[in-house]
Amino acid sequence: MALVSGKRAAVGTGTAGAADGFAAVGYRLMTKVLLIEDDSETAEEITAELADRGFDVEWSANGIDGLDRARSSRPDAMIVDRLLPGMDGLTVIEALRKDQVRTPVLVLSALGAVDDRVRGLRMGGDDYLTKPFALVELVARIEALLRRPVETRETTLHVGTLELDLIERTAKRGDRVIDLLPREFRLLEYMMQRSDQLLTRAMLLEEVWNYKFVPATNLVDVHMGRLRHKVDGPGETQMIHNVRGAGFILRAGP
C-alpha cells in the first residue's frame, strides 16, 4: 500500500478515477491531518490511504500524545478514535474545543454504543463514522470536512453550464430548463455546493435527507439515477458521475 498518488493517477482506471479528483485537491493544499488511533494496523492503512490522496498525515497512538500534537502542529483536520489509551477520544476533542481550537474532527468508533454518535457530536466532533468503514468513505468525509462550503449570499449556484436559482427554485443547463421535484432540487443543490467532491451514499442520506440509517434498498442510487437522467440530457457531457463502490461526484467536465 505504498503507492504514491502520482503513480496511481498514471495507471488510473475504474475506482482509481476517484483518486484523481482527490489527488488534485491534495497536491494543491498539502493538507495536514492528525490521526489519533491506537490500533497500529488500522492507523497504517488510513495513513497510507490519506498519503495516497496527497495528505500529510501525522499519527499518534494515544490520547495524551495526540492532544499535545494537536496543540503543537495545528493540523487542518483530525481523525480521532473514540476509545484510546491514556485519554478518551471525546475528552481530547473537548479539551481542544476549550482551547478554542476549531479544527474539524471526524470521530471514529466501534459499533456497540448508539449513544456515542450523539455524544461525539455534542462534545465537539464534526462528523462521526462507525467501524467497520470503507476507506473511501473516510476520505470522502475528511474531504467534506475540509471543504465545507463557505457561507455566501449567492442565490445562484453555478457548475459548468449548470445553474441553480435558489430563490426561484429553478434549474437550467445552458438554455435547457430542468424540471425538478423538491427532493431532486435539494439533492442537486447539495451536490453543486460540493462539486468535484466525492459524496458517499451515507453522506447524502445524512445531509440531504437528514437521516442517519442504512437503507435496505439502493435508495440513493435510484434518486441519483432520476436526477442524472434530468441533468445529463442526451448528447450532453456527463456531469453526475457514479464512482464505483464509493458514491457520486458532480463535475463540470467529463
Binding site: V114, P132, A216
Partner: protein
C-alpha cells in the same frame, strides 16, 4: 484442631443463640415460680404460727404448758417450734433451749436463729417465729421451720435439670443437623452449578416436591436455567444462520479471487475481479453490521436521544424517499394522514423502522399493486399502518418473520438480508410501541404507539 465445619455455620450459631435464650427464659420462669411459691408458703406458715400463738396465749398458765407439749407431740415432721419462758428467761416448756435474744416480742413473725433441743442434744436452726410477752411476764414463742422452701428449690432444680438440659441439647442437635443438612444441599447445588459452568447446560438443581424454601429456590433457578438453555440454543441457531449467510458471499469472493488470480491478464480484468470480491465482502460486512446494530438497539435503554417526533411529517418523508422506487416498479405509493400526531422517540431509529416497513411493502408488492401508509388514531394511541397488495404474511409465518434471517419461501428470490423486520421489531420495542401483523389480504403491518409510552 479445627472446629467442626457445622459449628461455624450461621444456622448452627443461630440455633445456639436460640437455645441460650430459651435456657435463660426457662431459668427466669422457674425462679419466678420458686420465689412466688416460697412467698406464699412463708405467708401461710406465718399465719399458722400467729394463730397458734393466739390460741396458746389465750389459755391459762398450766394449760399453756400442756398445749405446747401437745402441739409438739402432734408434729410428726419435726418442723414446729414452741416454748414458754418465764420472766427471767428460764424455759418452762417447749423445744427451744433459750429465748432468742433478737426476737422482738411484738407479735410480728420474724426470721430468726434458734437452738433446738433434741433428745440427743441441741442444734441451731433458722426459723420463722413469733413471740409474745404474757401479762405475767412469761414469754411465749411459736415458730416453724420453713424448710419447704429448700425442698421446693430442690424440686425446681431437679425439674430444671430434667427439662432444660435435654431441651438445650435438643436445640443444639437440631441446629447442628439443620446446618449440616443445609451445607450438604449447598454442596450438592455447588457441584451441579460447577457442572453447568463447565458447559453441561442440561444439568438442573436438585428439586424435591415439597413446599420448602430450598426446593422453591431450586425451582426458580431451574426455571431460569430452562429459559437460558432455550436462549442459548436459539443463539446457536442464529449463529448457524449467520455462518450460512456469511458463507455465501465469502465463498463467492473466494472463488472470484481464485479464478481472477489465474485468469486475469490485464489490469482491467484484475480490477473487475477486485470489485466483485469487494462487493461480496461488503455484503458480509453489511450482515454483520446489521446484526450488531440489532443487538445494540435491543440492548440499549437509551431515552436520552428521545424527542417529539411528528409522525405525519416523517411518514411523508419516508414515502417521498421511496416514491421513485415504487414508481420504477409501477407500484402506487400513497400516504394518508387522518390525524396529525407526534410521539416521543428517536427520529433516526423511527425513520429507519418506517422506512423498513415501506421498503418491505414496496419490495413484496407485485407490479401494478399499491402501498398505503396511514396515520390514524385509536383509543389513546396513534397507529401507523402500512398496507400493501402483495402476498401478505400467512398466519403460520407471522411469528417466524420476526425471527432473524427468516425469509419466506414465497419471496426467497427477492434480494435482502432478512433482518429488516427484526430491526423494526427491536426499534418498536425500544420505544414501548407494538408491532402487529394483521391478517391479509395482502400485507398489513401496524405500529401502535400508546400515548403513555416510554418517556
Amino acid at each position: 484442631m479445627r472446629e467442626p465445619h457445622f459449628i461455624r455455620s450461621s444456622t448452627f450459631r443461630r440455633a445456639l443463640a436460640v437455645a441460650g435464650m430459651f435456657a435463660v427464659f426457662v431459668i427466669v420462669l422457674f425462679g419466678f415460680i420458686y420465689w412466688q411459691t416460697d412467698d406464699y408458703l412463708i405467708a401461710r406458715s406465718d399465719k399458722m404460727i400467729a394463730t397458734q400463738l393466739n390460741s396458746i396465749a389465750g389459755l391459762s398458765g398450766a394449760q399453756q404448758t400442756d398445749a405446747i407439749d401437745q402441739h409438739l407431740k402432734e408434729d410428726s415432721r419435726g418442723v414446729q417450734y414452741a416454748a414458754l419462758f418465764d420472766a427471767d428467761g428460764r424455759r418452762i416448756a417447749g423445744n427451744l433451749q433459750q429465748l432468742p435474744p433478737e426476737l422482738k416480742m411484738n407479735d410480728s413473725v420474724q426470721s430468726i436463729s434458734v437452738v433446738r433441743m433434741f433428745p440427743a442434744g441441741a442444734q441451731a436452726r433458722v426459723i420463722r417465729a413469733v413471740g409474745r410477752r404474757m401479762p405475767n411476764g412469761d414469754a411465749l414463742v411459736i415458730g416453724r421451720d420453713v424448710d419447704e422452701a429448700r425442698e421446693i428449690s430442690h424440686v425446681v432444680g431437679q425439674a430444671l435439670a430434667l427439662g432444660l438440659l435435654p431441651a438445650f441439647c435438643l436445640c443444639l442437635m437440631a441446629g447442628a443437623w439443620l446446618s449440616m443438612r443445609a451445607q450438604r444441599r449447598v454442596e450438592e447445588v455447588n457441584q451441579r452449578v460447577q457442572r453447568i459452568i463447565a458447559g453441561d447446560l442440561r444439568e438442573r438443581l436438585p428439586h424435591r416436591d415439597v413446599d420448602e424454601s430450598f426446593s422453591r429456590l431450586a425451582g426458580i433457578v431451574n426455571g431460569m436455567l430452562d429459559e437460558m438453555e432455550t436462549m442459548i440454543h436459539a443463539l446457536a441457531g442464529v449463529g448457524n444462520d449467520i455462518a450460512h449467510d456469511l458463507r455465501t458471499p465469502l465463498t463467492r469472493a473466494r472463488l472470484v479471487l481464485e479464478r481472477g488470480r489465474t485468469n486475469a491478464t490485464t489490469l482491467e480484468q484484475f480490477h473487475a475481479v477486485t470489485d466483485k470480491a469487494i462487493t461480496s465482502i461488503d455484503q458480509s460486512l453489511a450482515i454483520i453490521t446489521a446484526l450488531l446494530r440489532l443487538a445494540e438497539i435491543e440492548n440499549s435503554r437509551r431515552l436520552a436521544a428521545f424527542e417529539d417526533v411528528p409522525l405525519h411529517d416523517m411518514l411523508r418523508e419516508v414515502c417521498d424517499m421511496y416514491e421513485p422506487i415504487a414508481e420504477n416498479k409501477n407500484v402506487d405509493l400513497r400516504v394518508e394522514v387522518k390525524h396529525r400526531s407526534s410521539v416521543r422517540g428517536d427520529r433516526n431509529l423511527l425513520f429507519e423502522a418506517f422506512a423498513n416497513l415501506v421498503d418491505n411493502a414496496v419490495k413484496f408488492t407485485p407490479e401494478g399493486g399499491r402501498v398505503d401508509v396511514e396515520l390514524t388514531r385509536g383509543d389513546n394511541e396513534t397507529i401507523v399502518r402500512v398496507i400493501d397488495t402483495g402476498c401478505g404474511i400467512g398466519e403460520r409465518e407471522r411469528e417466524a418473520v420476526l425471527r432473524r434471517f427468516y425469509r419466506s419461501d414465497k419471496v426467497r428470490s427477492t434480494p435482502g438480508v432478512g433482518l429488516g423486520l427484526n430491526l423494526v421489531a427491536a426499534i418498536v420495542k425500544l420505544h414501548g410501541f407494538k408491532l402487529v401483523i394483521q391478517p391479509g389480504p395482502g400485507g398489513r403491518m401496524e405500529v401502535i404507539c400508546p400515548d403513555r409510552s416510554l418517556g
